[in-house]
């Protein structure tokens, strides 16, 4: 199989959520001497980009996104050793969490998946994360972005505190927020850099913002 054929099959296998096929194709590609970065950027990531596009236009539902992301992870596992030697293969590091007082993780996990699919290294702080933990993690892990989620109107106000703490700590990266009650107006009001209406948009807009920075 030529490199182009492997890339195309990888893309299709990611879209179809075929994790065993993805792993086998990555193994085959490595064996054929194809660079891990190429398998990632020409096969796996285009596959997840297409998944994101289909999710945005409501052709795909969440389980389909999740099985696609899992398939991509299966490929990343095969390529891990090689990719870790080439940090340039990743587009950036993002710290993500659900804000203090909020125990919901569905949206946050979905966004984390899409970030991973878009090539980010994700540091997931989980749920009910206080402002200082966002700040500490961003600093300690050298993150280029912080992403926050909230499901409740009663907890989304805590995002403002995190933004203020990050600014106070002179965090220079991008701050992106989202969640059911969150709006663009709210994001602007609290001084976040980006707002995303859904997981796919979050990954797209953060990647675009990082590329432009």
């Amino acid at each position: 199989m030529s490199a182009e054929e492997i890339f195309e099959k990888l893309k299709k296998s990611v879209i179809g959520g075929k994790r065993k096929d993805v792993a086998a194709l990555c193994t085959e590609g490595k064996g054929a001497g194809i660079a891990g970065k190429d398998l990632l950027t020409k096969g796996l990531l285009p596959g997840m980009e297409e998944v994101g596009r289909r999710f945005r236009c409501e052709e795909f539902y969440i389980p389909e996104v999740l099985v696609a992301a899992r398939a991509m992870h299966a490929g990343l596992e095969i390529l891990r050793d090689e990719l870790e030697k080439q940090p340039a293969a990743q587009v950036g590091k993002v710290v993500i969490g659900t804000v203090e007082g909020d125990l919901h993780d569905i949206g946050k996990n979905l966004v984390a998946m899409m970030f991973t699919g878009a090539g980010f290294e994700v540091v997931d702080l989980g749920i009910d994360v206080p402002a200082n933990r966002f700040v500490e993690a961003a600093k300690e892990r050298g993150a280029q972005a912080v992403a926050m989620s909230a499901l409740l109107t009663t907890t989304m106000v805590n995002m403002e505190k995190v933004v203020a703490e990050l600014r106070k700590a002179q965090f220079k990266g991008k701050i992106i927020i989202g969640g059911a009650p969150v709006t663009k107006e709210f994001a602007d009001k609290i001084g976040a850099d980006l707002y995303a209406a859904d997981a796919s948009e979050g990954a797209e807009s953060l990647r675009a913002a990082m590329a432009a920075a």
């Binding site: 389980p63 993780d105 109107t153």
Partner: protein
């Protein structure tokens, strides 16, 4: 008619003059309203160590809280959250609340067994299993229904409970978690079986789900619950549209915008309550309710505000007095 009779009449979509019945899935603000923690928020780690006298004091206090909530806020039905949740304590709670209300308030409790949206930690595994082990997932779905109906049998034998609220959430604000075709495969048949089983046992069934239900509305209606609950306007579910599409098949409960109760102005809250009432009252079966519940963190005054709208504007004329 008692509040219970009015609530059940609404579920059966029978003509119902007078004030529209009212129900909330949960009223969590018991500390603010009554100075007591909601029963579902308590942890009785030493329940079995307590003397029977002490246990009974706790049972009485929880039962009293449910009865007080119904009375103070004009709730025609209350949702029980038995704590502890074994059969014996459940039966005691049912009897205790019924004794206090004179069986005048309808009692419901959780009874879903279908697959809802899994939490974030289990979501990927759940999704993978749908694709990789579909037969095992269906067998599990059937077993869950069987277990729920067995419990239903035990509750029926005891008596005193009117129905179940099936609270597995199927939808997000954007739409169903599962593609409608997958919902038809992994959820709808079991929901239908569960509803039919409960109906056969003599229970009323309220199907609750958050989110935008419109893409699976036909499947929800086909399951034949007595009522659909939440009808969430934050997810784009419109009461006028629901009346048009579903009022002939199911009782409608909900649609007063919980998000507005939190962040909107008083005028917006009143307007949301008015909108739900205006259209809901056109349905033969309609129960006034928020689009979720009176949850922790909400202002009690906002709940009281929409109840005021219900009292003033949620009254159907009695045909006998209308000329």
């Amino acid at each position: 008619m008692t509040p219970r009779e009015r609530f059940l009449a609404a579920l059966e979509r029978r003509p119902l003059p007078g004030r529209v019945p009212h129900f909330e899935l949960v009223f969590y603000l018991t500390m603010e309203a009554f100075g007591k923690v909601h029963p579902s928020q308590r942890t009785y780690k030493q329940w079995k160590q307590m003397s029977e006298t002490e246990r009974q004091l706790h049972r009485d206090e929880m039962a009293q809280l449910y009865a007080q909530t119904a009375e103070r806020f004009g709730q025609d039905a209350v949702m029980l959250h038995p704590n502890p949740s074994d059969d014996d304590e459940l039966f005691r709670l049912i009897d205790n609340v019924n004794e206090r209300t004179g069986r005048s308030v309808a009692l419901v409790m959780h009874g879903d067994a279908t697959y809802g949206i899994p939490d974030g930690e289990r979501m990927t595994e759940f999704s993978m299993r749908l694709y990789e082990e579909p037969d095992a997932m269906k067998a599990e779905a059937a077993a869950r229904v069987e277990r729920a109906l067995k419990k239903g049998e035990r509750i029926k034998a005891h008596g005193g409970l009117d129905g179940f609220a099936l609270c597995s959430d199927y939808c997000l604000n954007t739409g169903p978690f599962l593609r409608p075709a997958m919902f038809a495969e992994f959820v709808a048949p079991y929901l239908k079986q569960l509803v039919a089983g409960y109906r056969e046992q003599g229970f009323y069934v309220i199907k609750h789900t958050d989110g935008n239900i419109m893409p699976i509305l036909d499947q929800l209606l086909d399951a034949n619950p007595h009522a659909l609950h939440s009808l969430d306007p934050q997810a784009g579910v419109d009461m006028a549209e629901m009346v048009r599409l579903a009022a002939g098949k199911v009782c409608l409960i909900g649609n007063v915008n919980c998000g507005l109760l939190d962040t909107g102005t008083e005028e917006e809250c009143v307007e949301s309550a008015r909108y739900a009432l205006k259209h809901g009252m056109k349905a033969p079966g309609y129960v006034f309710s928020t689009s979720n519940c009176i949850y922790t963190g909400m202002r009690l005054s906002r709940y009281e505000l929409i109840l005021d709208v219900l009292r003033k504007e949620g009254v159907r004329p009695d045909p006998a007095t209308v000329r």
